[in-house]
């Protein structure tokens, strides 16, 4: 019943399923040497020439190491080329945390840049949040990566940028809200660090799992401002000249782990030590459960996300604009507790996702600068400064009464979750 039109993989599966070694041996027509190093059914489903060593998390096909590398690398290359992420001669900063995603990203960017002549100037950009025991080791990893990949490295510290280290922030705000800070501050830090180097493009290690999670979150939160752009591969903060892109948009988290493992890449195994915000946690768990049932669900969700289109755009944007104006006003008046149009500062560090031409349509005021720090911001005061303001406020409180500091942090987190950026 089989025909040539079956995919190679399908035929390979047939072979694996039906050709038992005994069957081949007993068949006199087959010129297969009696002494074989490999069994047919243990061959890679793609090249049929090497022993399969792994099952691809993406589609469960059995692959040899070489075919896995080839697939992994080519898929990322296709993503980069298909979305025209870079231009020749562009300087690109790789957000490097020393964790596996960014280590694999640095490695991949280097080999693809060389293999396909992208003509990019790659720089490792690392943020020192000032988390004792975590950052010390991971920064050491980044420094080794610098040697291994022969790339320039720039380290920007929170202390330098914000005069607060992450440990100090956690001590003041409580561990529960720390990821909110982590996200906002790290994002700005990357942008500021890149700007310092005169680089307008930052690539991050956000992978397909992160993108799928974002689609689910935007749906579950009913976030009409973000839903259509949930899957955008290139984003920029409102007002920021720095582009950000995710070459791993279609790359499974698990495959990044496998790739790092087989390539024996040098990474620091702990990612951000602070737990995600609770609701995001439920979406993450849902995604895990789904992936166990249907591994393709991650790209399936991204596919859905790419096809989301909302109606009545014009009306919504006008409304959005009005709300933004009001929010700016409220922030100015120091009254940012009851701001409507709640938009969460996401813990993965990505904030707003509006492409150039959409910016003005969404009511963002371009080219404004933060009144406190001078950083580009659509609001009068930038996100980081609002956060820091809260911290300063807390620090004052801590001095007076230790008990209220906990409440203060919780209140501040709530406020932050509602801020519009």
């Amino acid at each position: 019943m089989e025909t040539e039109s079956k995919s190679k993989r399908e035929v390979a599966r047939e072979v694996a399923r039906e050709v038992m070694p005994s069957k081949i041996l007993s068949d006199s027509n087959l010129k297969v040497p009696v002494k074989r190093p490999l069994k047919v059914k243990s061959l890679c489903e793609v090249c049929h020439a090497r022993k399969a060593v792994m099952r691809r998390p993406k589609n469960f096909s059995s692959l040899c190491k070489e075919c896995f590398y080839q697939a992994f690398e080519t898929e990322i290359h296709n993503t980069i080329v298909g979305n025209k992420l870079f231009y020749s001669g562009e300087s690109v900063a790789i957000g490097a945390s020393g964790g596996k995603d960014s280590t694999v990203l640095a490695y991949i960017m280097k080999i693809l840049n060389e293999r396909y002549n992208y003509g990019l100037n790659l720089v490792l950009l690392s943020i020192d949040e000032g988390i004792k025991g975590y950052r010390d080791d991971s920064l050491a990893t980044v420094k080794r990566n610098q040697q291994q990949y022969e790339m320039p490295l720039e380290i920007v510290s929170y202390k330098d940028l914000y005069s607060w280290s992450m440990d100090e922030i956690v001590a003041s705000s409580g561990i529960r809200s720390s990821c909110t800070y982590c996200g906002v501050l790290r994002r700005q830090a990357l942008d500021r660090g890149a700007a310092k180097l005169g680089i307008n493009h930052v690539v991050t290690g956000h992978n397909a799992d992160d993108v799928a999670e974002t689609v689910l979150m935007n749906l579950l939160r009913g976030d009409t401002a973000r839903l259509e752009n949930s899957t955008a591969i290139m984003t920029s903060s409102s007002g920021s000249p720095i582009k950000r892109s995710k070459p791993f948009k279609y790359t499974y988290q698990k495959e990044i782990v496998l790739y790092a493992h087989y390539k024996k890449l040098d990474y620091f195994s702990t990612e951000c030590t602070y737990a995600p915000e609770a609701f995001r946690g439920t979406a993450r768990q849902l995604l895990k459960n789904l992936e166990a049932v249907r591994p393709s669900c991650i790209i399936d969700i991204i596919h859905s996300g790419e096809n989301f289109k909302l109606k009545e755009k014009r009306k919504r944007e006008t409304l959005q604009y009005k709300k933004n104006c009001r929010n700016v006003q409220q922030i100015k008046e120091g009254n940012n507790k009851n701001i409507d149009n709640p938009i969460e500062v996401r813990s993965d560090g990505s904030v707003s996702i509006f492409k150039g031409e959409k910016k003005s349509a969404n009511g963002f005021v371009d080219g404004n600068r933060c009144e406190k720090c001078g950083y580009l911001s659509s609001n009068k005061i930038c996100k980081a400064c609002i956060l820091l303001q809260g911290l300063e406020h807390n620090r004052a409180k801590v001095l007076i009464d230790t008990d209220t500091s906990v409440d203060g942090a919780a209140v501040l987190t709530k406020t932050l979750e509602k801020l519009t950026f």
Binding site: M1, L43, L216, L219, N289
Partner: protein, 451 residues
């Protein structure tokens, strides 16, 4: 979504101020009859157009037919109860006249004529699903004989994954509902979906890669099925699952519910996650969501209802097919070429052979593959000519179906294929594992060999 009763304190119903309240929902205390009225009013609000009202004069004969899709799940039973009460009320007020004629379709593929239900004599009609989804009505439906090519069960038994079965079944139901609308000349179709069910559907469609279908599946409005226009309404779209349960309870309807209809607790203990379907996992997600996030259900329905077809994307794509293609399985519009999208992000190029050992292994594989898959290329080419339809892609499937078919193993799946315009069967296809291939297997489609 807590609907705690306050019997002990004998709180008075906040609506009638007379009866003792039996439940609290949406922060309001209700007695049994006020609650029933409250839920019924939600249906009446969404079906308030004149076409559902009792007509007099010239319009008397223009009576409108409404198809109710009954699954004997909780919410569709509530809807049936509400509609029957509405019709009874119309009859008693308007001396036996009804605003519309109700046709009820049940998923076991039989039709119940509700007029006979009201008049006391039951008139069941059975319909049998043909290969091409042309349903056939069998009066006095005693014999469902064996001459029909395949049953739905046979079709689905080929799926290896529960989620694929669930997905295909969903497509079959949907197709059958619309088909019945057309054959029964019903211009309105009503579903019992509660708000919770709609939220589950929106999330599940997203997860299955069918995001572009959300709009069509959960919004109310006119749908066109084979040039036949049907208005789809979800009259209970504003009713929560907890309220559905209360309604059943208060009106003694629980006994009619299908046993298969899972309650929260049975679902939670029923299965290990890995044995659950995508729909079940999604439902459990909403069921177990913390009370802090109780608004998630309505939030999801709200945003889901704002989605529209991603038509504009089409212009950006350089697809040169005139007009939009339709999926051969679920019949939905295909906005982007899903195979091309998948190919871009899933590479399967072999890494070159580098040494003799690998070459030997590959030769061994080739020998074995030849045994299993003898070359019948010519046969296949013939098949394509025979079809006479110019097409670059041998078969067009939407992304969601491509994924679902991925869960169908080995011998493939016979799926009835209908020509969009003429509703005739053009051909039989076998969908292989990766779904993109037209296998052209003509061994078992002699009986309906195209046109």
């Amino acid at each position: 979504m807590s609907s705690s009763t306050t019997k002990a304190g004998a709180v008075v119903c906040s609506r009638c101020k007379i009866e003792e309240s039996l439940l609290v929902t949406r922060k309001e205390a209700f007695c049994s009859s006020c609650f029933t009225k409250f839920i019924s009013n939600k249906q009446r609000k969404l079906m308030s157009s004149d076409k559902f009202k009792v007509k007099y004069g010239k319009q008397v004969n223009e009576i409108h037919k409404v198809l109710l899709c009954l699954s004997f799940g909780r919410s569709s039973l509530v809807l049936l109860d509400i509609i029957i009460n509405l019709l009874k009320e119309q009859r008693s007020i308007h001396r036996g006249r009804q605003g519309f004629k109700l046709v009820v379709i049940d998923i076991e593929f039989k039709i119940l004529n509700i007029d006979s239900f009201l008049s006391g004599s039951y008139d069941f009609e059975r319909i049998k699903l043909f290969k091409d989804f042309n349903s056939m009505i069998i009066k006095d439906g005693s014999s469902l004989d064996e001459k029909f090519p395949q049953t739905v069960q046979e079709l689905l038994s080929k799926c290896s994954s529960n989620s694929s079965v669930e997905d295909l079944l969903d497509i079959i139901y949907n197709e059958l509902y619309f088909n019945t609308c057309k054959s029964e000349d019903c211009h309105t179709m009503i579903f019992g979906h509660s708000m919770t069910k709609l939220a589950v559907d929106i999330l599940a469609l997203t997860i299955k890669g069918r995001g572009s279908l959300v709009n069509q599946r959960v919004t109310d409005g006119i749908h066109t099925y084979q040039k036949y226009q049907v208005e789809v309404v979800h009259p209970l779209r504003d009713v929560l699952d907890s309220e559905i349960d209360k309604y059943l309870d208060l009106n003694n309807l629980m006994q009619f519910c299908d046993n298969n209809n899972d309650t929260n607790t049975t679902l939670a203990i029923k299965k290990l996650t890995k044995n659950m379907t995508i729909g079940e996992i999604t439902r459990r997600y909403f069921d177990t969501l913390d009370k802090d996030y109780s608004e998630t259900v309505s939030t999801v329905v709200k945003i889901g209802s704002k989605l529209i077809d991603p038509i504009s994307e089409k212009n950006d794509e350089k697809d040169d097919n005139n007009g939009i293609q339709f999926c051969k399985i679920c019949n939905c519009k295909i906005f982007k070429n899903p195979q091309a999208w998948l190919n871009r992000i899933t590479v399967e190029e072999p890494f070159p052979i580098t040494n003799d050992e690998e070459r030997a292994a590959y030769e061994m594989y080739k020998e074995a593959a030849l045994q299993i898959s003898p070359d019948n290329l010519e046969e296949e080419e013939e098949e394509e000519e025979e079809e006479g339809v110019p097409q670059k892609e041998p078969i067009s499937l939407c992304y969601g179906c491509l994924v679902t078919i991925g869960g169908v193993p080995k011998e493939g799946l016979d799926w009835p294929v209908r020509n969009q315009e003429t509703q005739e069967i053009l051909n039989e296809y076998i969908l292989t594992d990766n779904g993109s291939d037209d296998d052209g297997n003509d061994d078992d489609n002699d009986d309906d060999g195209g046109n």
